[in-house]
Amino acid sequence: MQGPDKNIISDLKDKNKRDLAFHQLVSTYQERLYWHIRKIVMNHEDADDVLQNTFLKVWRSIDNFREESSLFTWLYRIATNESITFINSKKKKNFMQMNDVSEFLMDNLTSDPYFEGNEIQLKLQQAILRLPEKQRIVFNMKYFDDLKYDEMSEILDTSVGALKASYHHAAKKIEDYLKNTD
C-alpha cells in the first residue's frame, strides 16, 4: 500500500485523528468515486446521494478494513456495491423488469441537466445502457477509468478471464449499436 493511503488508514483507525483523516480521504477520492458512480446511476442527484452513502459506509466500517487490498480498491468496491444497491432499490420500488432498468437509466440520463455530451456521446451512452449490468460496469471501468484487469478483479471479485470476456462482449455490442443505429 502507498504511503499517503497508509497514513490515512492509520489515522482513520485512531479516534483522535479520525475526523481530520476522513476529511482528507473525502478530498482525495471524491472525484474518482463520483465519476465511477455517476456512470452507473447516470444522474447527478442520484450520484450525489450514492457518493454520500459510500463515504458513510466507509466511516462505519473503517475498523473492519483489514488492509488486504489497497484503500482505492476497497473504496471502489464499496462505491460499486452502493450504486448497484441503489439501482436495485429503485427497481424494487417501481416493480421494474431488466429492460425497464435500462429505460429508467436512459430517462435519468436524458432528464439530467448536467449531461453535457454531444450527439455521439449520447449515442455511446445509450449503447452502454443497453448492456447487462455487469458488462456495463466492466466496460466503464476499463474504457473510461483505464483500470487494470487485476484491480477490476479485486473490486468486482471476478476472475481476470471473466472480466476480459465481459469487456470483449460489451465492446462488440457497442460497436454493433454504433454501426447500425442512426
Binding site: 449531461f115 451512452q125 473510461f144 465492446a171 460497436e175
Partner: protein, 148 residues
C-alpha cells in the same frame, strides 16, 4: 487500445471525453456537506446508544407491575381484614394440629389395652333393669318378647 481497435474499430475512433458535468463548485463543497452528514450520523449513533434503556424498559415495566400488584393486594389485606379472623383461623388450625399429634404419639399396644379395659363396664341391680325396661318398652312389647 490495440485490443479495442480489433474488436470495435468505430468505438476506438471516438474521443474519450467526459460527457457528464456537475453543478459549479460541487467538489469544493462536497467535503463540507459530507462533514455535516457525518455529524448527523454521529448524533444518531449516540442516540442509539441511549436506546439501550429501551431494551431494559419491558423488564423494568414488568418489575414495576409486580410491585404495584403487591402493594394493591398485600397491604389492603394486612390493613383492612380484622385481626380476630386471622387469629380464629390460626386457632382452628392449631386444634387440628394438636389432635393429629396425639394420634401420632399413641402407640398400637396402648390403643388395644384401652379397648380391652373394663373401665367402661357398670354393675346395675335388678330393680334398675326393671325400671329401664318399663320406661323404654310397652307391656305388649314385653309380652311379645317373653312369649317367644
Amino acid at each position: 487500445m490495440e485490443e479495442l481497435k480489433n474488436i470495435a474499430p468505430e468505438l476506438s475512433k471516438l474521443k474519450k471525453e467526459n460527457a457528464f458535468g456537475t453543478p459549479r463548485g460541487y467538489f469544493d463543497d462536497f467535503p463540507a456537506r459530507m462533514q455535516m452528514k457525518l455529524e448527523a450520523e454521529k448524533n444518531v449513533a449516540d442516540k442509539q446508544e441511549f436506546k439501550i434503556i429501551n431494551l431494559l424498559k419491558p423488564a423494568l415495566g414488568l418489575a414495576a407491575s409486580f410491585a404495584i400488584i403487591f402493594m394493591l393486594v398485600y397491604i389492603p389485606i394486612k390493613t383492612f381484614i380484622p385481626q380476630e379472623q386471622i387469629i380464629q383461623t390460626t386457632v382452628s388450625n392449631d386444634y387440628n394440629d394438636q389432635f393429629h399429634t396425639i394420634l401420632e404419639e399413641l402407640d398400637e399396644n396402648s390403643f388395644f389395652s384401652l379397648l380391652e379395659s373394663n373401665d367402661t363396664e357398670e354393675n346395675f341391680s335388678d330393680d334398675d333393669l326393671v325400671a329401664y325396661v318399663s320406661s323404654n318398652f310397652s307391656a305388649y312389647e314385653i309380652f311379645e318378647y317373653t312369649d317367644k
